[in-house]
Symmetry: C2
Subunit: 772 residues, 2 copies
């Protein structure tokens, strides 16, 4: 083997890396079907309004237009239950009587050509009568606020573990509670109590590939090509909307051009499937970038956090209330707030803890899953709050963190016993990397000042989710893996191939991993939550283990050896110590005339929680992700501009499956965090988005990366666990930078992003308060 080949074998990167970088991967957006029609949506220009009139006559008259459908017409169609949503079925396929946000789809045009559809859509005349609107999640609680959904929506059949607490005639979509210890008593015991409020805005996921769906409906048999991260949820939801058995619905998902949570849960698919039914033709809808901004966002959040400590800096009690702006429709908001609440303790021992998180309906676009799912919001609060407390108590922030770290014997916010925690090591690696020194003064050079900041995050991985998988060993000894995990650039196919290859001692070029087709892929709950390498990896190993077992049985028979004397090495079964008594896997399969060897496996994550207290009630502890961050920033005191000079992220991997991909995921997560720390924000005026395009809405480029940009991936094999790395490095970024900015300037910014304007405003306030 050449050195390059050895290096490739050790550090395989991604199986299809070459095809990706040369533009030859077929994404969902590339799928075409003969005779397909093209859809275009007509969307609300008002944040909240009654639909008075829709005149589609001119649009229908355009040559090439096959169908114009309004929400009112849709609601009268037989065989369609016209509302969807993964937890609550509150989102209409098309708005019927009321539109609830700017961008809410209220009619659809289907035409032979996408340009014709777009043109005809401009001819649809819509009269809207504005209603009062509410945009802020806290204001949405007010008795004067307009109520978006007066009657609570029905639950869908999925996510039965999410218990919804909502109230009629309010905007509370869901309320989740943590109740641990006795918070009131804890505050009485505390020597000092601090209370702060934090905000973080809605931001965009910006996958390169926008949402796309291409569907056919032939004789109640649906085929839905989608770039969803949740094919099996989509299948179940289509079954609900159209009242069909799951076997009538086939969801096909090729490689995605990015997801980051944006493509979790049904979005445009139920409508596109319906349009295919009505036209009797394949129908395709691809959203524009502008439409992405009104399709799904990260949850904006307001969080009030009150913490009591002893004089020695140990936490005694914390009480948190967080309002997550879930927008006009619930999407996964009702579940996401669980993570917001669980995250309010961070990786710290807080014996008395209460958290109330709310998913609030407002007249904003729906918010949903976003890389860092609830934790990047909660972590923004907890780690800013911690540094603010440290400052007030004159304790070094690193020291304050160390004094309170969870150790074996403690319990997490959910009451689960602490296990396999390495936050001390993560924190140390970050502090070391950045050269943290207690009581280090900022370095001032002219009108520029430098300082450092830290942060530390821990959160619980998705509980109860199930992954199943299958594998087949072919007649030449190569291996096909069948998985419901969606490849979206995160490298899940490569990771699964590595795991299977190790167990069977097969090189990677002998292994192929399928994309998802719900007709044949074994069930997987979803590709999200950094869960696939861990959970689908477990299922794959189960499947491969069955094949291994069968191989050993057959080889023992064919080699006339004891099974215990056999080993599987380099694609062959051999008698230990007798190198020429061996059979390759292909020889074994062919000699057995088996066709192939087939195996299947399953992985189920533990950890149900009591819906009243958020405390663990069943089947063992969950699996906690852990990450730290350290930033060194330079702030220009004249312009307020923040430059991140150095950033070090540390994440816990359990076991690193694919080093290249682990590094890239960690760097990618930090890059997302840099954008959210410094400039990413959807800016609204009266519910109207002001920067809904990639000219005005910035995401980080390579020029935004710090010169010092590195990370530590901590590996501990003894726990036997794999920790997904899709999200971990993101949440620490924003508080680490904010904490550094504070240490550099004394300006504490509690609402993201950390814009120059806010820095200057803070500096100006210092000057004014220091005036006599």
């Amino acid at each position: 083997m050449t050195m390059a080949a050895v290096e490739t074998e050790r550090r395989p990167g991604m199986l299809d890396a070459n095809a990706r970088v040369t533009g030859r991967v077929a994404y969902a957006i590339d799928t075409r079907l003969p005779g397909m029609l093209h859809a275009k949506l007509i969307r609300s220009r008002s944040p909240h309004a009654r639909i008075e009139r829709i005149d589609v006559a001119a649009a229908r008259a355009v040559p090439g237009v096959r169908l114009v459908l309004t929400g009112a017409e849709l609601a009268r169609l037989p065989g369609v239950d016209p509302r969807f949503g993964p937890v609550l079925r509150d989102q209409p396929l098309l708005a019927e009587e009321v539109v609830r946000f700017v961008g809410d789809p209220l009619a659809a045009v289907v035409a032979d050509d996408p340009d014709v559809a777009a043109y005809a859509a401009t001819l649809v005349e819509v009269d809207l009568a504005d209603l009062p609107a509410v945009f802020d999640p806290v204001e949405a609680l007010s008795p004067d606020a307009p109520v978006l959904h007066p009657a609570p929506a029905r639950k869908s059949g999925m996510f039965r573990d999410v218990v919804v607490h909502n109230t009629a005639n309010t905007n509370i979509c869901n309320h989740f509670r943590i109740r641990k210890g006795d918070v009131a008593a804890g505050f009485l015991e505390s020597d000092v109590i601090f209370e702060d409020e934090f905000r973080s805005p809605a931001v965009q996921h910006v996958p390169l590939e926008t949402h796309v769906c291409l569907a056919t409906w032939v004789d109640d048999q649906i085929v839905c090509h989608s770039n969803t991260q949740t094919p099996f949820v989509l299948r179940a939801q289509l079954a609900e909307v159209f009242g069909l058995p799951l076997t009538r619905i086939r969801v096909i998902v090729p490689t995605l051009g990015g997801g980051y949570g944006a493509k979790c849960y049904p979005k445009i698919e139920p409508l596109v499937v319906l349009l295919a039914r009505l036209t009797g033709r394949p129908v395709r809808l691809q959203l524009t970038r502008e439409e992405e901004f009104v399709t799904i966002t990260k949850h904006a959040m307001v969080m009030r956090m009150k913490t009591g400590l002893r004089h020695n800096g140990t936490f005694v009690a914390r009480e948190t209330t967080g309002w997550f702006n879930t927008g006009a429709y619930a999407d996964i908001g009702p579940r996401l707030i669980m993570y917001g609440a669980i995250g309010t303790s961070g990786p710290y021992r807080i014996p008395n803890l209460s958290a109330d998180t709310y998913a609030m309906y407002t007249n904003m676009p729906p918010a949903g899953a976003f890389r860092g799912y609830g934790i990047s919001q909660a972590g923004w609060a907890t780690e800013s709050h911690l540094d603010m407390i440290a400052e007030r108590m004159r304790i070094d922030p690193l020291d304050l963190r160390r004094r309170n770290l969870l150790v074996e014997g403690d319990t997490f916010s959910t009451g689960e016993a602490v296990n396999n925690m390495h936050v001390d090591e993560l924190l140390d690696s970050c502090a070391d990397a950045i050269g943290w020194q207690a009581e280090e003064e900022p370095i001032r050079m002219g009108r520029v000042v430098r300082a450092k900041g830290l942060s530390l995050i821990a959160w619980r991985a998705l509980p109860l989710a199930v992954s199943t998988a299958a594998a087949k060993l072919n007649e030449d000894g190569t291996l096909n893996l069948l998985t419901g995990s969606v490849e979206m650039g995160q490298g899940v196919q490569t990771a699964l191939a590595i795991l299977a290859g190790e167990r069977l001692d097969l090189p990677l070029d002998q292994i192929s991993v399928s994309c998802v087709d719900t007709d044949v892929s074994p069930y997987d709950q979803q590709t999200s939550a950094s869960r696939s390498t861990y959970a689908m990896g477990g299922a794959i190993l189960g499947a491969v283990e069955q094949i291994r077992d069968r191989l050993l049985d057959l080889a023992a028979e064919q080699l006339e050896a004891k099974r215990d004397d056999l080993e599987l090495v380099d694609g062959a079964a051999r008698v230990v110590g007798v190198p020429d008594r061996q059979l390759t896997y292909g020889e074994i399969v062919r000699a057995a005339r088996a066709g192939n060897l087939f195996g299947n496996g399953r992985h189920r994550a533990a950890g149900a929680l009591d819906p009243e207290t958020g405390q663990t009630i069943a089947d063992g502890p969950g699996h906690w992700h852990q990450a730290a961050g350290a930033a060194e920033v330079e702030v220009d005191l004249d312009t307020g501009r923040i430059r991140v000079l150095r950033y070090h992220g540390s994440v816990f991997a359990g076991r690193i499956v694919n080093p290249v991909q682990a590094e890239l995921q960690t760097e990618g997560g930090i890059t997302f965090g840099l954008g959210q720390a410094l400039f990413e924000e959807m800016i609204y005026d009266g519910g109207q988005l002001q920067n809904g395009n990639l000219g005005d809405y910035m995401i980080p480029s390579v020029l935004d990366l710090p010169d010092g940009f590195d990370h530590t991936i901590v590996e501990h094999l003894e726990g036997g666990e794999i920790h997904g790395l899709g999200e971990n490095s993101l949440p620490p970024v924003m508080p680490a930078i904010a904490n550094a900015v504070f240490r550099a300037t004394g300006v504490r910014i509690t609402d993201l992003p950390l814009t120059p304007e806010k820095v200057l405003r803070g500096l100006r306030a210092q000057v004014q308060s220091s005036k006599p």
Copy 2:
């Protein structure tokens, strides 16, 4: 349920019947990929020639042409082993130095547009230097005959059970032998000996959908969309040609627009895949109907059969030599001749048997699998021969058959013990249906004469072939079946769904059957040989059995009942006698948080044969198909025109799985037989096909069906076996009609088809021989 629904439930026809008849099924021919190019082949106009010069300059200069490739260029490409074939790798992707039949592809054009490709192909200038050619399989044996393949071709890695006996510098592609008893001694013991020769021509399969392939090649990852009946053979063959592991090759096969054997084994796919590699783009090639005629045919055959009997009409010995014209390349000819030999004993007790069948190379298009695979040729001989013997011995043909029928205790031509034979019943049902009477005289009405004929066939189903399958029970209790069987209109998906549904007591609308994608479909050797309902059905039942087992375990736990007290009824597990203690399958899967329940199964057909003697050597008896036919014909003595007034086919089904489909397959097979009996024939002059289009080559229409057109499908459940019905009804048709024509006219035609010209010629010969 309405009566119509009850009827549908009992007689489901095909799952997708409605989509089929309304033109909304997506066939392979409908697949398109963005950016695809289109190929066109340049073919030889000479039956045998040396390629002197190919000038592609003018073709390459056509705007839109991406590639023009000649066989000589192809042979020099690295990474391509440029010959293919399922048994013998004798067929070049493009002819290199020599063309071997009229239609042999020698160059390919790839262009942006199919019309551009077709135009450019006309500009390729080819100079050929004719070589001596041979067309007849017997003449091909002559020492003077040109030898098509002087060096025997390498064996492919597939069909290892086919032992090839061929000789360098001859046109013998393969030679198969049956040696049973002592034939020489048998003839010495015989009282009478008769010898006859029979011929049958090449005919076309005529699936509505012609061969099509659309392939991509990205970084040594091949995706091949093909309408093949043998996706796993194609995968293995592409692996051989391109030196890749099987996991680098994905063969996707949607529903086919008919197959009948034409789409068994690779045809255009290796070349199309190569063209995709060379252009870096998806490449599509769809053959025209004219090209179908030079792509694959039924084997023309010459068979000499010599039979010795006692005076009482019992068979003592038979010696047969058959020459099957396999054309210029072997395709599956080397295996097909086994069936030709096995079929020479028919369903009769012939203690001393010898058969030699040869696959002969000639300068004709390749011949391959065809509905009735070798048996419709051998059966033509055996059943014509039997009636000719009956006539000479003055024994009633029905009686002669009955005297020699195999019964329990006998052995088949392969030495296997007779089991589960019902030919007596089939023969009786045919004789009864047609009103057979011994010594019945033909009925003469003016210049028209009527009479009846019989035939009886038995042959061995494909041995050793493996089918594997998987099934998953979804979270709503519906079932997806994963199978490598190709749906080509024969209804295999419906048959498999019925079998699975019965075992799980699930209605058909809760079951979905996948098409083939070799990346995820469990291995299946091939969809041919009437084997899928039997073999894949067995594999599906194995998979479903695992699910049933798991369901019962889980239900016992969830219902707190003994497993033995449970029954699975109507999609639910229930405690026998306690109707309200029950859980639906969906409830069981969801309560277990199992995601889905997955099972897999396997079926392997028995019956290896000794390559020297054709006698069974291993693992139990095969499975013998059985069929009879009876015809009543009317012959016009002036025109020679034959009208079939009545035809009755009787087939043995073991167990009828889907009555509608069983009937349609039986009627379809008879219809094929009517065409082959009366008019189907590829007519050649010097290797040039004279009727290579559907204007000149006729297939039967509804107007060709007899007024009396019926059948008997004999069911015997006690054997527990399912007998595929895809081919059974075809082979008896031709001899039954020929025997009736003889009884009507005294004209014995031994070469198919039974044209008016041959009848008239026979009548004229009678007149001349009766002249003094």
